[in-house]
Amino acid sequence: MSGAPAGAASGSDATRAEVCVVACAEAWRGDGEVLAAAMGVCSVLGARLARLTFEPGLLTTDGGALLTAEPIPLGAPAGAVEGWMPFRDHLWLVLNGRRHVMMGASQIDRHGNTNISAIGPWAKPVSQLLGVRGAPGNTRLNPTSYWIPRHSTRVFVERVDTVSGVGTDRGAHGLRRVVTDLGVFDLGGPGGTMRLLSAHPGVEVAEIIGRTGFALDVPAEVPETRRPTGEELRLIREVLDPEGRRDREVRP
């Protein structure tokens, strides 16, 4: 836990990936004692960082069936555990509801409908992806956020090819945040459409609009995404991800 002297790192030298980790962490703020189910490196780091700092009630896993007593570094063994959550219990917990999931998406539209199943016609896809996985149930029954490491017009589309996760126009339980490598969004625009909440440091709003394939709700004033604190940077760099796997997901 110890290393560089306190205060050595500050928000101004944070990498884009580190900004994304903190933006993902913010999605769970105020959730209390719920399972933070995360997919993707920055998302997993965000859940564990939130638990280590401002949201200590969160429950996090070892990436498998174990609820760890403390947030653990990426890829580390579970160590002490506080609970057991095999896949079947994850699926029951979806129905129970004490869970806020942050998923990935290969396509997302302006209402937050997402696709992880297939690109092109479902009957004979151009590109078969994972399948719908738990996305239909997650989005119908749990607060859901998304982590999308590469914001582009290929992902942010007018219409998703297959609706795996449901959006605000299809009965979503509650879509909280969409975090990308460029900015932070919610579904608070007109009619439950996607709205830009903040642009990451160094990102122009015009770039976000240009890399989004639908009309985005953009307020007149767009704040900058919160920079990590010195303590958050220390936790990310020295405790949670000393191997720097976050930088392989979002290039510095």
Partner: protein, 287 residues
């Protein structure tokens, strides 16, 4: 009350420890399958998949199978061998390699049919089949294209208040194949890793079930009673298959062999490399 078509446990007398019991070979298991059958495969993604049994099915003449699985290389390999008419799954993945190459190719070439369910719906389908229920209600799936691509999927309204839910039908199967860490000759199966997956439901949902295992033992005493996941009352055959989960995770006996899995996925991308890879399965020694 027994499930339709169940043949297990009809002998009455438990097998004495040390007796031959239900022990058989993977090839003998494969020989019990018939073309057109529905086969459920336990495990999850690239975790504790009964690959020795799946490879034996690949070497057998059966075809036209419907495969029910939280899919991994089991689905991929059966697709690569042309054994599959339909896949029923919420996903097919190798976990550390997200997309399963043979399943992708089969879908993109339009050579298999696909019934796609949400993971929770799929589990309820297994629960329904395992307990002879006509359906189980769940809100999961509503609003998504799972409803559109499964036109036979019905919704019902609660008689207690009107909430609309999906009536998930039972995912019954002719045969279930699962891989355990340990089993005894009578057919009791034990998992020693962190997750049972849904293997107990698969064997209960099946007309016949076959359990491969890392080691057949006289006494299943390596874990507490709750690790005794599968009861002999549901099991027709036991196969001792050390390394029988192939490159998939089989904790605590072994973790996923990432290099072997990469070799599998890499070979899939090139016809010549795949022919060579396939030869090793075709000529696989009987386990």
């Amino acid at each position: 009350m027994t499930a339709p078509g169940r043949t297990a446990g009809t002998g009455g007398e438990p097998v004495a420890a040390g007796g031959a019991g239900k022990v058989m070979t993977a090839a003998e298991v494969a020989a019990t399958l018939e073309s057109g059958m529905t086969v459920g495969v336990g495990g999850w993604g690239s975790r504790r998949k009964p690959m020795a049994l799946v490879e034996a099915v690949c070497r057998s003449p059966v075809t036209d199978l419907t495969v029910i699985s939280y899919g991994g290389p089991d689905v991929g390999l059966l697709c690569a061998y042309g054994k599959v008419r339909r896949v029923v799954a919420p996903f097919v993945t190798l976990d550390s390699i997200p997309l399963e190459p043979h399943f992708r190719a089969a879908r993109q070439n339009g050579v298999i049919e696909f019934t796609e369910y949400d993971e929770g719906m799929f589990m309820f389908g297994l629960y329904a089949a395992a307990h002879n229920l006509p359906f189980l209600p769940t809100p999961a799936g509503l609003g998504s294209d799972v409803m559109a691509v499964n036109p036979g999927l019905a919704t019902v309204r609660s008689p207690y208040g009107g909430q609309e839910v999906v009536a998930m039908p039972p995912l019954g199967m002719d045969v279930a194949l699962v891989h355990m860490n340990r089993a005894d000759r009578r057919g009791n199966g034990q998992y020693l890793g962190p997750d049972p997956y849904l293997d107990d439901l698969f064997v209960k949902a099946a007309g016949r079930a076959y359990v491969s295992c890392e080691r057949v033992v006289d006494v299943l005493d390596e874990g507490p009673p709750q690790t005794l996941l599968i009861s002999r009352m549901h099991v027709d055959g036991v196969v001792e298959a050390p390394g029988g989960a192939g490159f998939t995770d089989c904790a605590p006996d072994y973790g996923r062999d990432e290099a072997a899995q990469r070799a599998y996925a890499t070979a899939a991308a090139d016809p010549e490399a795949w022919a060579a890879y396939r030869k090793t399965i075709d000529e696989g020694a009987e386990r």
